[in-house]
């Protein structure tokens, strides 16, 4: 791939709920292997932006591109479904509330989609589950139901489930916000390991310390606008925008 073609690109994203404009003409690019954090106050539109990347919350206008493919194509229903289901296999997503399937074991959670969508045999799928669970350090929980896992373990399984589709990019929507403080670290560690493997990641987070230590770039959003963007050192130590400064001082005071 040419260096000047971005891996993920959002062009002029706008999103309205009735009269409320939650995304106001946002454009951004993410390179392959880059790790980007999106920070900002709640209601700033950062989750909406993230959920627009796999078209879970479709944009009102604007484009999302992944590796030269337009994600949010306007197509007749059946063709759109086929297209988006294909694209979504390449975009892993991790949710704040894990959204593990409670009626399936950890193994079932991880293997369901690969078996269904990639036609893996049960042996291949099992091996895949083993591999992914090793990555998140939970191989011994393979036959557990989610109800028997701690929050941190649930989120690590959710990450393994997303990784099992071999995605090109991973989206994290406040992956540690619902966790007890003592469980945050184990999830952060898994994410750090992914960063070391050069997984492309877009991370919506409230954890400034984590963003600072892991991410290549931080984007600060407020009221549907990307206020400023830059390397974490600069954003956290020396923000140029007044709103960023105000947010950071408020945030650091509260935490």
């Amino acid at each position: 791939m040419e260096k000047n073609q971005p891996f993920v690109e959002i062009r002029h994203a706008r999103k309205c709920y009735g009269d409320l404009e939650v995304l106001k003409d946002i454009s951004l690019t993410v390179d392959r292997g880059e790790i980007v954090a999106i920070i900002g106050p709640s209601g700033s539109g950062k989750s909406t932006l993230l959920r627009a990347i796999n078209d879970l919350d479709p944009l009102t206008s604007g484009e999302v591109w992944l590796e030269g493919t337009l994600v949010n194509q306007v197509l007749p229903h059946h063709r759109y479904e086929k297209h988006i289901n294909q694209v979504r296999q390449d975009i892993g997503m991790v949710f704040q509330h894990f959204n593990l399937f409670p009626h399936l074991t950890v193994r079932g959670n991880i293997t369901l989609a690969p078996r269904m969508l990639k036609g893996l045999s049960s042996e291949e799928a099992d091996q895949l589950a083993v591999d992914q669970l090793e990555r998140v350090g939970l191989l011994d929980r393979i036959d557990f139901y989610p109800s028997r896992l701690s929050g941190g373990q649930k989120q690590r399984v959710a990450i393994a489930r997303a990784l099992a589709m071999k995605p090109k990019v991973m989206l994290f929507d406040e992956a540690t916000s619902a966790l007890d403080p003592e469980l945050v670290e184990e999830v952060n560690l898994v994410m750090k390991r992914l960063a070391e493997e050069h997984m492309t990641m877009i991370i919506v987070t409230h954890e400034m310390a984590f963003a600072a230590s892991v991410c290549d770039r931080v984007i600060f959003m407020d009221h549907g606008v990307a206020i400023e963007s830059g390397p974490p050192d600069r954003i956290f130590q020396n923000p140029t925008e007044e709103r960023t400064r105000a947010f950071l001082s408020r945030h650091l005071r509260n935490s």
Binding site: L56, N85, Q89, G92, M93, F95, P102, H103, L112, R161
Partner: protein, 215 residues
């Protein structure tokens, strides 16, 4: 209370109870079929089907079941629908309870956390795949108990078909009152048999519910 009389008539009541059980069983099956179809309509992407679903539920919940039954059994022949009393009973009650089951099934489906379908769709599953493998298995567990409530109402509702002379429990009680003039004993006996049927059904539902919750 005339116990000797009870001993003499109870075999007839047992036979009638069997008719009530069959009637309930067929009605339940038809109700589940109509309810699933109705719920599928109510949750469809197509507006036409949604409207159809709403119309179905509104009509059958918004009019007395006895009117629906009479319409089918007495009014049917006028428009070329010839059914015997038992058939009319099953169809009339089944389609009626199906409207209630439509709402039960739909309620269970929409109360499965939205994040479940989102997670499935995010992995690349289609709407149908995500419904079949993720949402429905969870909804089935949620709908067992409320469907049990529908079935309980349905069993008691079968008494209605006495009015179109299906020889079930209530009809049998009335018939024996005509010849014995002992309404107290006859209705009491019928009531006890209804209670036994409902009790056992309730146990069955509770068992299913427990089994479904094993994880």
């Amino acid at each position: 209370m005339d116990t000797e009389l009870l001993l003499r008539v109870y075999p007839f009541f047992l036979e009638a109870a069997w008719v009530t059980i069959l009637l309930s069983l067929y009605t339940t099956l038809l109700g589940l079929f109509c309810g699933s179809l109705g719920a599928a309509c109510r949750l469809s992407r197509l507006r036409f089907l949604r409207t159809l679903g709403v119309a179905y539920v509104s009509f059958f919940r918004g009019t007395p079941a006895i009117i629906q039954l009479f319409l089918l059994y007495f009014g049917g022949p006028q428009v070329g629908i010839q059914l015997d009393a038992f058939e009319a009973g099953v169809i009339g009650l089944g389609v009626n309870i199906g409207a209630y089951m439509t709402e039960t099934i739909r309620g269970a489906i929409i109360s499965v956390d939205k994040g479940q379908a989102e997670a499935a769709r995010t992995l690349g599953m289609s709407r149908i795949q995500s419904f079949r493998k993720v949402v429905l298995p969870q909804a089935l567990r949620l709908m067992i108990r409320p469907l049990g409530v529908n079935i309980n109402a349905l069993i008691k509702g079968t008494a209605l078909v006495a009015t179109i002379s299906v020889v079930e429990l209530t009809y049998t009680a009335q018939r024996f009152i005509g010849s014995t003039y002992r309404p107290f004993e006859m209705f009491l006996l019928a009531g006890v048999l209804y209670m036994i049927i409902i009790y056992l059904t309730g146990r069955g539902i509770a068992w299913l519910d427990r089994r479904a919750r094993i994880v």
